[in-house]
């Protein structure tokens, strides 16, 4: 079955070619695109970070192993969800993986349904993450067009200060503060002050 162009890509990393081949087949049958790598190093060097989808990663890899790869991805800010697969798993290993944000920790041989479910979850998580990343970017663009006085007022509002307090700190009239507030709410596309506060929180102001 040919995956649709919008289908998420599953990146598979395993040193066992046969396993790689079988799982890629299975996932393709479930509508995923697949991209296989025989080592963590190859994956790092060659994978398409922009492609949506998740990573199915074998823990036991010669050289850079699965957990190390997870750490490495986190370091470079990748949020690609990881489904761990292992021939033999132990609890400390799975705890470590999950704490580091793994979608799931599965042991081989894994049932197709389990794997597909995990991959779907991973893909969904990736999609969400990608969506969230998109909203923040819009907010940042809106925030970028605010005047410096408007940003100062927004920062004061985000800190929970009253208009009077802000006017006092800025040395302007309270009415002027109200004016700026109305103007920036319009520019940030916030209908209420509560919504503006939420947006400010997302922008980590």
């Amino acid at each position: 079955m040919t995956a649709s162009p919008s289908a998420p890509t599953v990146f598979l990393v395993d040193d066992d070619v046969q396993v790689l081949k079988a799982q890629a087949r299975l996932l393709r049958e479930h509508g995923f695109k697949t991209d296989v790598f025989e080592s963590a190093e190859t994956f790092l060097a060659q994978h398409d970070a922009a492609a949506p989808g998740c990573l199915v990663l074998d823990v036991n890899l010669p050289g850079l192993d699965g957990l190390a790869l997870q750490r490495r991805l986190a370091q470079v800010g990748s949020s690609r969800p990881i489904v761990f697969l292992t021939g033999h798993g132990d609890i400390p290993m799975s705890v470590q993986a999950i704490k580091a944000g793994a979608v799931d920790f599965l042991t081989k041989p894994v049932a197709g349904a389990t794997l597909v479910a995990a991959v779907r979850a991973g893909a969904a998580q990736d999609a969400q993450a990608r969506q969230a990343m998109g909203e923040i970017a819009t907010l940042r663009q809106r925030h970028a067009i605010l005047s410096p006085r408007e940003r100062e007022v927004l920062a004061g509002l985000a800190a929970g200060k009253l208009n009077k307090q802000i006017a006092g700190e800025l040395g302007i009239a309270e009415a002027t503060v109200k004016f700026h507030r109305a103007r920036l709410m319009e520019r940030m596309q916030a209908r209420t002050v509560a919504e503006l506060m939420h947006l400010a929180a997302r922008l980590e102001l």
């Binding site: 046969q18 396993v19 799982q23 087949r25 033999h88 081989k108 894994v110």
Partner: protein, 800 residues
Amino acid sequence: MIKSVASTQRPRGPERYSAATWIRARPCTRNVFPLIVRTESGLDGSVTARRLPVFAVRCGAGRCLCAPVWLLLLGLLSASPSVLAVTPHNVLVIYSNSRLLPATVEGDRGLVEGFAARPDLTVAVSAEFLDQPRFSGEAYERTFVTYLREKYAAHPPDAILTGSNEALDFMLRHRAELFEHVPIVYMAVASTYLQSVSPLPADVVGTPLTYDFLGTVEQALRWHPAAGRLVVVTGTSRWDREWEASIRAQVANLRHGLSIDFLAGLPIAELQQRLRLLPTRSIVFTPGFFRDGSGREFTPREATRLIAAASSAPVYATYSPFLGTGIVGGRMANIDAMGRLGAQTAIALIEGADPAALRMPAAMPTPLQVDWRQLRRWGISARAVPADAIVRFKEPTLWEAYRNLALIGSAVMLLQAGLIVALLLERRRRRRTVAALARSEQHMRLAAQAASLSTWIHGGDTVDATAPERGSRHADDAPGPLVDFRDTLARISPQDRAVVDTALRDALDTNGEFEVEYRIEAPDGESRWYSARGRADHAQAPRLLGVAIDVTQRKRAEIQAEQDRAALYHMTRVSLLGQLSASIAHQLNQPLASILGNAEAAQKMLEREPVDLPELREICADIVAEDHRAAQVIRRLGVLFKRGEPLFEPLDVNELVRDTIEFTRSILTTRHVTLAMHLAPALPPIAGDRVQLQQMLLNLIVNAADAMAELPEDRRVLTIATTLDAGAVRLSVADRGPGVPVEALEKLFEPFWSTKAGGMGMGLAICRSIVEAHRGSLLVTNAPAGGAEFCALLPALASP
């Protein structure tokens, strides 16, 4: 005056002449040789002599011819006169006295020998005897002359020989009327007589005879220096008186102080009496005599015999025929030599020699002749006898008579003695050997009993064995002390029979030694173990010598130990596999995961149309392959878990390494250990037990991985290498850990010695015992670059 002995002899009583024929066969180197046939007769018989060439057959071995053969040949030849073509030379011999007189016989023998010495001549010898003094007188002589003349008219002699003075005298007197120009050779003529008749005609020749009285007496006095008395014994006849006179004339020449007595003309009895009473320091001389004082007549030889028999003093004489009558001896001519000389002279004359030119000796030699027996009797030392003396009647000593026999006998006795000595020595040696053997056997029996040994010999057709009286099952099973090794061979457990057969045959073929252990099936079903050890012995027939010992106890202990060891190995192996369980699970889960993935993919593919058949086929092929892979893992694992007897088989060490690595690959990955393998290509196989060696290798790998746990991940490198090293395969496992502390190097392989918390300390001990069971060695060294290297050297089966 010296008388001719021959002429003085007178025959006793009437004598009849009968023809006496004797044959002398003188073998010679030619096939044809002469034969003298001689017929003698007196006046009343015809006298013929002829000499015939006769073909004689020589005997191969001896030189004698049988008389009957000769007679037969003679008869044949007589019957054919044509053979007698040669005219014989006639020789006539005239003797003055009787034919039987000893001197005549002796002279005649010499004469015949003299003629026979010339076998090329045919000589007919006739002999005539005047028989004086018994027959004498003119009428007799006349008749005798007439007889001779008429008898020899037809065969006139070519030469005439005379014996004694009287015969020469007769012939000289009647020569003109008998055989006037026939040459005469005289014999036995005294020189004194010759002087009386000289000068003789030129054709009358001969050699006179002398009687050396003085020489004889002087010799006697030399032998008896103490003798003070010489007794001369003579008779009463004319001849005797002449002898007496001659001696009396000569005694004056004898030394002074010697008293000389003449016992002349005594009757024989009185004479003998006187001779018996002679004082000891006397010597007696006698010429013999013809008549004693009583008128009784004797031959001089007989008289001498009586004298010598009676005399208490040694008797000497000068006449060779007296030798043997009891006289000691004297200087005397040989009468037979005289005959031979006569014959030679006659032959010379017949052959036409000039009588005047003949060189005749001046006199017959008178050598000293002695009777050896008398020398002994009178105590005359052999040393005192001159070297040129002729010793008669010498009894050959035993040595002389039986020299060869004695030599052979002595040699035989010596050999026999030697043999006896050798046999005695041999017997002694043998006794010692037997005793030593008995002792040795006793010791051996004792030793064999103590050790429960049975000994046996196995060779060719003979197989026997001895067993100690008790203690050995060999002996218990046997009815007697001997064990038939063939029975033993037959009872060897079928499992071991081939091994025993091969070992025995190899030992026989290579003339070497063998050692083999085998089981004997006991009737009760329980088998017992024996160890046989021995060697081939080709000294005689090819055979094997050896001992067998019951090693059941040892063997059981060994088997128990083997089982214990196997159990320990198994236990540690299982424990090791437990450590590796995660790795093994991974190893097994990989193919399972692959299979499952493929299978589910296939299921999914089948849910929609159209089915991608090529893809489906590929999936199925992958499933099958992965299933095989899983089965392979399980099989390898199963072998490791199995608890079985060691099985030694040819192994490829590289393959063993690769198989083993599969179980550890995962654990090495987990521990971030990088594996480096340097496997030499084309290694020769080794004989080994796969499971044990894998166990050893697993152990070494896990140890190496453990040793590097503290290292940074990038330095965790484990190197497995194989090389061929002087006929051994070298398998090394090296880590880069801290290495083995020097003080631990020795203890490392000891059981229950461990550096690991919770470690049992059996791993390396077992590794080493495994390698040693493979006749190899396991060593550990600290590498210069750091880390420990464990190295197993395993003997290769053959060079690649």
